[in-house]
Amino acid sequence: MSFWQTIGRIYESSVFVYGTVLLFIYAMLAVFSMIAVRAYARKDKLGQGNMLNSSPLAPGITVLAPAYNEGLTIIYNVRSLLTLNYPKYEIIIVNDGSTDNSLEQLITEFELVQVDFAYNVKIKTQPVRKIFKSTNPAYAQLMIIDKVNGKSKADAVNAGINAASYNYFVCTDVDCILDKNTLLELIKPVMQEGTKRVIATGATLRIANSCEFDQGVMTRMRPPRQLLPRFQEVEYIRAFVLGKMGWSLLNCVPNVSGGLGLFDKEVAIRSGGYDHSSFGEDMELMTRMCRYAHDNKINYAIRYIPKTLCWTEAPESVKIFNRQRTRWSRGLAQLMFSHFGMFLNPRYGKMGLIIFPYNFFFELLAPLVEVTGIIYYIVMICLGQINWPTAVMLLVFVYTYSVMITTIAILWDQLTFRYYRTWKEVAYLCMTPFMEFFLYHPLIVLFSLRGYYYFLTGKKSTWGNMQRRGFRQNVPGAKTAAV
């Protein structure tokens, strides 16, 4: 056997083991998520959710929403936040040096005046210019922070954390639409935990592109009509309902999405807040909070709920989608690099022994393994060393397995919540996994590699410009119209 043949054999065996472990993990997550989702549904059926709404014992929550040039939708989105059901909350919108008229719109719409606010810098950020409060008692819980642009969402959220009054904060994006019971649902796992300190809670996010909204409130949920956002909807269902719920059962949630998450303010501040230099600031904060909890012997938990509480606008063009995914994968590479000391470190418990290795092998390395696999395949074809029946059979296996896993995620989601009104909409969604393998997945791999390249070369990048189209609004007299 020649040297190259030996290398080839080792590579093949490694990829075989890698693939088998990955498939096993997915199967395990499918089972765990079923247990977790069913347990949640049984508790939810008892219907005690709203009693907190009138209770004087409800813990206070600060809702933080950073905004950069969101003038197109900002008024509707702030109105949406003002409709939240919760007895004790405040909303802080951080205008991160927008160059459009977002701030002027807010001042006029919500009757804001500048106030002398005792702003305490617990986490260092770009300077805060002004803080506004409304003179209208109907908007008493609203506060606007106007700050110098920090070139990152992290910097804006940190400014909000500094000004937050309550012990818990919910971080969301100002372009996200929240369910009116979001705060009631997110605080529940914190209050229902006996021995552990819940440092973060997350919930399922969905794509808002084809949904209907009225004054910032979601009135009709639909899967996106365009293919690219629909792929993302399916991906979100798989990631949240199957992935995160499965990990939640083991108390191994790797990340609470930046789109919606509730955090323990004290732990977040002591961990240093969001890292403004990170491209995956949500995952980075979560890692640091876990690290802090381990270092300080806090018996912590991170919880997830399968209910959809947040709708976000997904990129419709490949160009914007590319920008988003490149940023995410770059963030992942940054995170792995800066916290590599936690990798397989027993000191960090499940974080070091399960979450970190999983993220390293099956999130970070996956695109690289796939690309090297394809190159190897092509070389083998050129050399005429492919056993075609075996190759085709394995490809069919991987394809059917991936379709099965995604379908199971849709099944848990449908059996528990029966989202979407019509059969047609569900059928639409169910067909998407069949195309995902050929059309969507290659894009993800490509953009991930681009992100890694940018990470290695240190290319400069900024946050913010998602080129939003705005949400569909129910307008009397017209069926729907864009904002």
Binding site: R42, K43, K45, L46, Q48, M51, L52, S54, S55, P56, L57, A58, P59, E90, V113, V115, D116, F117, A118, Y119, N120, K133, S134, T135, A140, S165, Y166, K188, V190, M191, Q192, E193, G194, T195, P389, T390, M393, L394, V396, F397, T400, Y401, V403, M404, T407, I408, I410, L411, Q414, L415, R418, W423, V426, C430
Partner: protein, 381 residues
């Protein structure tokens, strides 16, 4: 006609002599395809069942509502008379549809819904109807179920209908290892026990979670004819910290002055979270007598207790300790302490008007901002 069998025979023949890896792959492909098809069928069946159930309920609810309106809610004879003397016309409810379990459950849910929204005689009449239709037996049957969620459902129904459950049935459940069951049993016990509704406070070994406290607080504060005990007994003797913390909240809610000495004793506890809760309780009850003691112990306290002491000075607003507040405001290195001292100074404005003016004029830029923050009515915290 023979195409399919021939095809499968040929596939099986080829598979039998294929390499092991292909055989394994084939098995997994078969499993994956079967699972995917089963998942789609389950979605289809699940949605269809749900759709049918919703449709049936949409038909049944107006019928139940009409029957309840005609026979109970709009029945004038029932309004004027003593509810317990006049039987409700339950015959109207003896319809074939109510022989089905799902329909009886819908009737129970509807009765509970209406009972939660009406009070007095009407509420009693709905309860009578629940008994006459023997729906209580349905609930008791669920109580005997081995499934915890059925038991919880049963307790919720019986509690809503104010039906008694034997203490021997409920009390063991108040210490169940299942959180939901434990909470439901505690709520039911408080609401239904005629003798000692708070007895489980003595027996509780499991912690009273914040979530449970919310529900218990609601039940205790909304249940009529409940004998409110002196919570000092648990504040003094309970070894369950969560029970003590909850009792402190109830002491504040009922402004139970008689419990103040017991709360004061808690100031010497070694648990600083509990101590902070006790100071918070005394502050909300505006007990001025403890101010001197708290000032003496201030410097030895952790931050959470110090903040509560400063808040107490503001809540009590006795005007006796403005110098102490001034000193903390000017000299404390912690931002939160300075902010709370400033807030309390503003709340003591009647006694410290000149001092506040002087501070505004002479304070550093940051302290001036803190004072203006506290003086601004638009800013709550």
């Amino acid at each position: 006609m023979n195409v399919l069998p021939v095809f499968f025979t040929s596939v099986l023949y080829n598979l039998r002599y294929a390499p092991l890896i292909i055989q394994i792959a084939c098995v997994f492909i078969f499993i994956a395809v079967t699972c995917t098809i089963t998942a789609y069928l389950s979605i289809l069946i699940g949605r269809y069942k749900g759709h049918r159930h919703e449709k049936k309920l949409a038909k049944l609810h107006p019928l139940i509502d009409q029957l309840l309106l005609d026979n109970v809610l709009m029945n004038e004879a029932l309004i004027h008379e003593d509810a317990e003397e006049i039987p409700v016309a339950a015959d109207a409810f003896h319809q074939p549809v109510f022989r089905k379990r799902w329909a009886r459950q819908a009737l129970i849910d509807r009765l509970i819904h209406y009972r939660n929204n009406v009070s007095g005689i009407m509420g009693e009449q709905l309860r009578n109807l629940y008994i006459q239709l023997e729906l209580d037996k349905e609930s008791l049957k669920k109580m005997k179920s081995r499934k915890w969620d059925k038991k919880v459902q049963a307790m919720a129904e019986l509690t809503s209908m104010n039906m008694s459950i034997a203490d021997v049935t409920i009390l063991p459940l108040t210490n169940s290892r299942n959180r939901e069951l434990r909470a439901a049993a505690r709520h039911a016990y408080i609401k239904l026990s005629k003798n000692e509704p708070f007895k489980f406070f003595d027996l509780a070994t499991e912690p009273l979670l914040l979530w449970d406290q919310v529900e218990l607080f609601r039940i205790i504060s909304t249940t009529e004819k409940i004998a409110i005990p002196n919570f000092a007994q648990w504040i003094t003797y309970s070894s369950n910290k969560s029970i003590i913390s909850f009792c402190l909240k109830l002491v504040v809610h009922y402004n139970q002055i008689s419990a103040v000495p017991a709360v004061e004793k808690l100031l010497d506890t070694r648990d600083h979270y509990l101590r902070a809760d006790a100071i918070n309780c005394l502050g909300k009850m505006q007990i001025a007598e403890v101010e001197d003691k708290l000032i003496r112990m201030y410097n030895s306290q952790p931050l959470n207790c110090q903040i509560e002491i400063l808040k107490l000075m503001g809540r009590v607003s006795s005007g006796k300790h403005v110098d102490f507040l001034r000193q903390e405001f000017l000299h404390s290195t912690d931002f939160d302490l300075r902010k709370n001292a400033a807030k309390s100074l503003i709340k003591n404005q009647w006694a410290a008007k000149n001092l506040i003016t002087e501070l505004v004029d002479t304070a550093t830029a940051e302290n001036k901002r803190i004072l203006k923050h506290c003086m601004n009515p638009l800013i709550k915290f």
